[in-house]
């Protein structure tokens, strides 16, 4: 399988996995939608590196504190496809991460 097909397969498998979790109620529909949107941003729209770095930073330090819950709620309430909304959300997440540390 060539690189292009491997990439498509990886994308399709990931979409299917996330959607399956949502459809089986293992994650909420908001969480499913967020993850699917993020996947498209990374695979299709070549998301900004800042977005990925910030999210990684949060995931690595997430300890389910109250602030982590607020960060999660902020992310789920944002339509990351809208650049302005995404920028505002990342700004808020960074502030919250700083407040937590």
């Amino acid at each position: 399988m060539d690189y292009d097909k491997k990439k498509k397969k990886l994308y399709d498998e990931t979409v299917s996995l996330i959607a399956d979790l949502g459809f089986r109620n293992r994650i909420s529909f908001d969480e499913m939608n967020f993850l699917l949107t993020l996947l498209d941003l990374i695979f299709i729209n070549k998301a900004e590196k800042d977005l990925i770095t910030t999210l990684k930073k949060w995931v690595q330090t997430n300890n389910n504190s109250e602030i982590d819950e607020i960060i999660k709620a902020t992310l789920l309430a944002t339509d990351l496809r809208v650049p302005e909304a995404q920028a505002k959300c990342m700004e808020a997440v960074l502030e919250l991460l700083e407040a937590r540390s």
């Binding site: 498509k8 994308y11 399709d12 979409v15 299917s16 399956d20 459809f23 498209d40």
Partner: protein, 451 residues
């Protein structure tokens, strides 16, 4: 007997799944399929539904990725259980090289036409049985008409009978007669445009505007206003008339184009805007100018590696999503050669032919800007002239004309001619004196000195 026809001849599910997979993974494939297929071309209702979801998303400017199709289907209550995800994934995994999508689309279309042919055979058989073989002439005539429609490659193929043509001519003349009469009374004889405004009153008068399906070629030497002309046209179409249009620029950056607009819409010198040498009042004027651009129908696509094929897919996309009425290519000489073995004139000829077809198929105006040689001639001019509907040249007025040409003396500050070299719908060989302010990047009809 006809019902015994083996059903497996009538569909090709593999092709349907391959095309859908390609749509889900490639925007170019999506554009091709959108233009060539309809849901009824799909045999499987499930595949037709997915295709319809994709096209609906695309019309709303959402690229139909697997994620977006899944979300859309879920929102509409079409995908509700994990089995639906499996089905969709199964289709998505029919990978092809996306550039081969046309081959698979053709296979779907062939099967679709074959199904229609079988329906025709079945209905003909039923008619014969119902009428017990009587009125043969009538049966054959009806069958012939249906079969002719079926064999026509494109649905919009149409042959005009003498009566059709005469009626069309009569209707057109009557419409124009009544319109002229109305406008003579209302606007003292000034005829309304039939197409998009050109940005010049005199050119509007000769051409009645740029019409859908028109290919317009504008030639000018380097540094003599090609881009200024393009943006002047864009101002008339997109800013003043609020029509959607697409501007493809092969050599300027987004910032350069944006700065030019500041100058064009505010009439403040371009050099001063570029250097920031402006006062606060001028800054406020420029901001107001940009608010006009924000409310306009101007879409810009800086594209240094433009090829004729790419112009087709970009134009199709913007026609579907933004309903563009015009596309300007600035400029043709900077397009990538699709076959380096071809001579310059052959490449230009092919580009121009492609753009003419594009204009007709999408029913939009396509304007191509080309570079004139130092002596004012145009490479491959004869061939370009054959293809285009309107050929314009923008050239400085020669110094001797100011002394010897009595006509030019009747104008205030003309410095350029806009020459109509060819006009398929009207007068050609016309020279329109214009005033081109290089610093402000503005153009206008030269004013006549009132006597």
């Amino acid at each position: 007997m006809i019902n015994d026809f083996p059903e497996e001849y009538l569909f090709d599910l593999e092709s349907e799944q391959r095309v859908l997979s390609s749509i889900l993974h490639s925007e170019d494939a999506c554009i091709e399929a959108y233009n060539l297929l309809t849901p009824s071309d799909f045999y499987s209702p499930r595949n037709a539904l997915i295709f319809e979801l994709c096209t609906n998303l695309y019309q709303r400017e959402v690229r139909p990725t697997l994620v977006e199709v899944l979300k859309e289907g879920h929102t509409l209550g079409l995908f509700t259980n994990p089995r639906d995800i499996e089905d969709l994934k199964y289709i998505a995994e029919y990978y092809i090289d996306d550039e081969n999508v046309k081959y698979w689309i053709q296979k779907i279309k062939d099967k679709s036409r074959l199904r229609k042919f079988v329906e025709f055979l079945q209905s003909s058989y039923e008619i014969i049985m119902e009428q017990k073989g009587n009125d043969v002439e009538q049966i054959l005539m009806a069958a012939e008409e249906k079969l002719t429609n079926l064999t026509a490659l494109e649905i919009d193929d149409h042959v005009d009978t003498p009566a059709d043509m005469a009626k069309l001519g009569y209707d057109e003349v009557e419409r124009r007669f009544l319109r002229y009469k109305t406008y003579s009374e209302l606007y003292k004889g000034r005829i309304p445009l039939e197409g998009l405004p050109t940005g010049f009153d005199n050119l509007n008068h000769v051409t009645l505007g740029y019409k859908p399906g028109d290919l317009i070629i504008l030639g000018a030497q380097t540094g003599h206003g090609k881009t200024a002309f393009a943006l002047h046209t864009a101002k008339a179409v997109a800013v003043e008339s609020k029509q959607s249009m697409l501007y493809l620029n092969t050599e300027m950056s987004r910032e350069q184009i944006a700065l030019r607009w500041g100058s064009i819409l505010s009439s403040i010198e371009h050099d001063r805007i570029r250097s920031g040498n402006i006062n606060e009042t001028e800054l406020s004027i420029i901001f107001q100018a940009y608010s006009r651009l924000r409310d306009s129908g101007f879409y810009s696509y800086p594209c240094p590696n433009l090829t004729p094929e790419k112009t087709i897919s970009i134009a199709r996309k913007f026609k579907v999503q933004k309903n563009i009425q015009m596309m300007i290519i600035d400029y043709v000489g900077r397009m990538d050669k699709f076959d380096p073995r071809l001579a310059e004139w052959q490449i230009l000829e092919q580009i121009v032919k492609t753009q003419k077809m594009l204009a007709q198929n999408l029913k939009i105006v396509v304007m191509c800007l080309v570079q004139l040689n130092a002596d004012g001639t145009l490479q491959g001019a004869r061939r370009m002239k054959n293809e285009c509907d309107l050929m314009l040249k923008l050239t400085p007025i020669p110094a001797e004309d100011f002394e010897l040409d009595e006509e030019i003396k009747k104008y205030l500050n003309p410095n350029y001619y806009l020459i109509i070299e060819k006009n398929r719908d009207g007068r050609s060989g016309v020279r329109i004196p214009i005033t081109f302010d290089l610093q402000k990047q503005t153009m206008k009809d030269a004013e006549r000195i009132s006597l």
